[in-house]
Symmetry: C2
Subunit: 229 residues, 2 copies
């Protein structure tokens, strides 16, 4: 499936969204170069618009722009990777708690359908899409908690998490989110705030465990440091 190009009025936000999705589904790998002219051809817009979206993505941490060099899909360092998950562990348990207190039957149904969509994607062997949905699940919790600011923030952190997973994923096994997510939905259904918080905390810890964020395997920190003596 190639990127959908509408007949008219492709806006900067749409391009950013498409790129985000491509990153989230691992169709775009960390470090990939994003040439402006190329994107212009793909989306049929002027460089002005493309540059807007690239700057926007830089702000969210998905893209790194090097002056006079160009835009690249970000490659989070180990420290950045740890910080992303640390930040998530500060925020998300509180969101799970809030969501448990506010979730309506409609919300529950939505989450269940969401998980089903993820499972279907896996059955179709669309691993990237399943990964994206799995991340989006977390964003939906913030939406249910009715916290727009953190919903936005979390969307960024989740997208960056996809980059981190692409770089530091340890095993070849599939993500085993399903159990945690199901447990969380159950807690929301029961309005069990404490349970939801605990499950979310554990779930994030699980995720972290499956990453190889040990210091040793770090790539070239800085050429200067790498060649020192």
């Amino acid at each position: 499936m190639t990127i959908n190009l509408k007949t008219k009025s492709t806006t900067a936000d749409e391009i950013a969204l498409q790129l985000t999705k491509a990153i989230h589904t691992h169709r775009l790998q960390p470090g990939a170069k994003l040439r402006e002219d190329e994107l212009c051809d793909i989306f049929r817009v002027s460089r002005t618009i493309v540059r807007q979206s690239l700057h926007s993505l830089q702000h969210t941490g998905l893209v790194t722009i090097l002056r006079n060099k160009g835009a690249f899909v970000a490659k989070p360092t180990l420290k950045e990777a740890r910080e992303v998950f640390e930040a998530r562990s500060f925020i998300e348990p509180a969101m799970a708690r809030a969501a448990a207190l506010r979730a309506t039957p409609h919300d529950i149904a939505f989450l269940e359908q969401h998980m089903k969509a993820e499972k279907d994607a896996l059955d179709r062997e669309e691993v990237g899409e399943a990964l994206r949905l799995s991340g989006d699940f977390h964003v939906q919790i913030a939406r249910i908690a009715d916290h727009a600011l953190i919903q936005t923030l979390l969307a960024q952190l989740v997208a960056r998490s996809a980059l981190i997973i692409a770089l530091y994923w340890r095993r070849r096994s599939a993500l085993s989110d399903t159990a945690s997510h199901m447990g969380l939905v159950q807690a929301l259904r029961d309005q069990d705030a404490d349970g939801a918080e605990v499950i979310m905390k554990g779930h994030l810890l699980d995720l972290l465990m499956q990453l190889d964020l040990s210091d040793s395997s770090s790539g070239p920190v800085s050429l200067k440091d790498a060649l020192r003596k």
Copy 2:
């Protein structure tokens, strides 16, 4: 004091920084219009650069851009205001804890000097500058905790807090941050992580208490709603 205009090469980031400072010190009020041409004249750059900074500030939540209308200093709604402080209360206590474990004597000295600068600003009756320093104190905690991601995030939230204070500040009294900040520095000196966390939590609650975030006084939610029936 007018805005400093250098002889050459004023970059988009610099402009965004200057505007942020002006907002933070209440020299720019919520709702103020930011005309592009005007900023071009002030900073002696083309609209391209000005637009870059405005978009950047929109991303941080300090500026609202209305299509074909222009850029305005943001006016956080009550809900947004609550969300900002809620987010801070999720994050900052954890930062205070981490900072307590990492703070060096140098860091302590830095914070003490920082507080002195704030006091000096107050003595000079530069209330806006004192307010800015008081907010920056919180960002410095994240820096000491060595958490770059949250430091950036917190800088944004603190800046937005300045807008919220401008809109929803209840009394005319000066901010009484000093005591909390002093207590926090003492806890850092003692490497008292629990104490630091508790003080920070209480401090943020104090701040919130001094705001009038009750529902009633809300401005016009939407003209449609306001005129309904």
